[in-house]
Symmetry: C2
Subunit: 380 residues, 2 copies
Amino acid sequence: MKLTILRTELNEAVQNVSKAVSARSTIPILSGIKIDVSDRGVTLTASDTDISIQHFIPLESSSKTVVKVERPGSVVLPAKFFVEIVKKLPHEEVNLEVGERFQTLIHSGATEIQLVGLDPEEFPVLPILEEDRVFSIPGDLLRSMIRQTVFAVTTNESTPILTGVLWSLQEGVFKFVATDRHRLATCKTNIDTDPGLKFAGVVISGKTLNELSKIIPDQNTLVDIVVADNQVLFKLGEVLFFSRMLDGAYPDTSKIIPSQFKTELVLNTKSLSDAIDRAYLLSREEKTNIVRLLTTDDGNIEINSSSSELGRVQEHLDVTDLTGEPLRIAFNSKYMLDVLKVVDSEQLYIGFNGAMSPIIFKPRDHDNSLHLILPYRTTN
Amino acid sequence: MKLTILRTELNEAVQNVSKAVSARSTIPILSGIKIDVSDRGVTLTASDTDISIQHFIPLESSSKTVVKVERPGSVVLPAKFFVEIVKKLPHEEVNLEVGERFQTLIHSGATEIQLVGLDPEEFPVLPILEEDRVFSIPGDLLRSMIRQTVFAVTTNESTPILTGVLWSLQEGVFKFVATDRHRLATCKTNIDTDPGLKFAGVVISGKTLNELSKIIPDQNTLVDIVVADNQVLFKLGEVLFFSRMLDGAYPDTSKIIPSQFKTELVLNTKSLSDAIDRAYLLSREEKTNIVRLLTTDDGNIEINSSSSELGRVQEHLDVTDLTGEPLRIAFNSKYMLDVLKVVDSEQLYIGFNGAMSPIIFKPRDHDNSLHLILPYRTTN
């Protein structure tokens, strides 16, 4: 293997695939990045078995020569050092040459680096997926749907299935669900695809979705999603992102969302968020994060929290609309702030069924998302 | 105590003094911020006994009313919560009122906060310093001198005196020295002051200087420095910053700086820094940080590092000037990078006396700083 490659393009590819390198793998080869050089270009691959990322660099890009191949071949290089050094090479032209026993020589300006390479044959082969279930979604929409839901997955590994987000596609509606049993986040969008295309019960790790989010380009490009038997593949231009599905059955959450409410509230999202944030600051010092919301006689609401050591925060909030029974409810303010952070609507609807029942949040501008948090069961 | 104050000015003062609040004080009163209200304005004070910071807010600022006092008085409020909530109050006008048993009411917009205040009589009284040793220095110069030296203090508490920076003023020369026994950083500047004014052996904690650095305003204002018996006071406009001096005698470091050199090198600071940085990346993986510098037959230098597991980095560097004996020396590259980061001169002089003797760094543009690192004693 011998080639010349431009540092900027190599660096972009290395940074992208490095997100799949596991920091503490027990399998030495997985702490490396695989480089495959063919007459068509250079392919970089990294994998931690849960995620695999592949980035292809073609010979030319916008009619500029990016790669000059002298001799095709493959090698695996130690990721941690390679990722850092590629950022800092002194010259835009980088020469890579693999010699005996995968000894690799990197040349750039007056810098010469010898690296102990590993045998690419030992690197796991990426699956070849059946591409019969494929659809496309704008990258920024996918990123927004991840953001709307991924915060609600559990970090508790004792229920592994809940560390993921449940995906389904039914009659053109692409839907995400996440829950940690204390709260629930859902969102959906209409996909312009063959109405016969459908799947359900696909669960993808929250961590994986966070990594995917970072790699989706800012420009509004389409992401192709391939749903295979136990893998999902995301195609983002020259980047392929493979994710394993989580094993197990996701609990049915459809029945816990009420359709009738005893108290209904419409108010400005930002005003509520600011008020809860101040009350949270005090409740945080008590380690409980408990904040209370109560309806007032003048048809508005009060938010308050108290701490025996510090004192009390009390907020009066004018609402746009309040109907139904008077209410006094306590909840984990951190959970409510998590919801309010992702609501992308100026006005917010909140539905209640008394102090012991779930609280439901719906944006007023659209019905693409719905969030739920359980109240804190307290007597005062 | 009862007053109205503008949020922006209150917030600035609270953020400033909060740097002196100790996170885990065993003395409860020190986890608070003291507020004193007089007919002249509002004074905020915080102290962790090593550092004390006081910020005065006058009634008016640029002919705008900032404070309206209804009733003078004092209270101590819990710092952690107060610092956060002041940032987030909804309205620019903030009312503060202290009632019985130091119960404090904060009012801003529709937010009402009751805080459990503490007795201001319990708060330590700041020392009244004799102001007979006073001089002034531009804020950005003071910050630069701190930056040139503070990285070289030790973090090892077994030699407390070396956790500080040694200050002296002799014949109008203000000088800083810091060392952790592996390296030495010094810098000096000429101060326009009474030539009779002098002091030596003043040692100020590195941590304190870092906090001071953050509080020095960006605008080029003069800082007044008052050196008293066991305290140093910095006056930065309306802010007073008190620092305790460290006890003990600072070791004499004047004899370890050689004045003659066997090998002398002048080169571009940035080129050397970049080359060392790349070699450091590899040496870091070996946990030793060892990098070697050697003179080459063509009158230039080579920088290299190696790792049995990863390989080798080799850099050829053209120098501006090289005189004296050939050299091969090994050192801790982290220490050298720390020096190269603060050198504010395009060209750098480095003096050597063989592989076992200290390495000396001097900027070429001025002689206000000098740095020294000990080599790594290795046989290869």
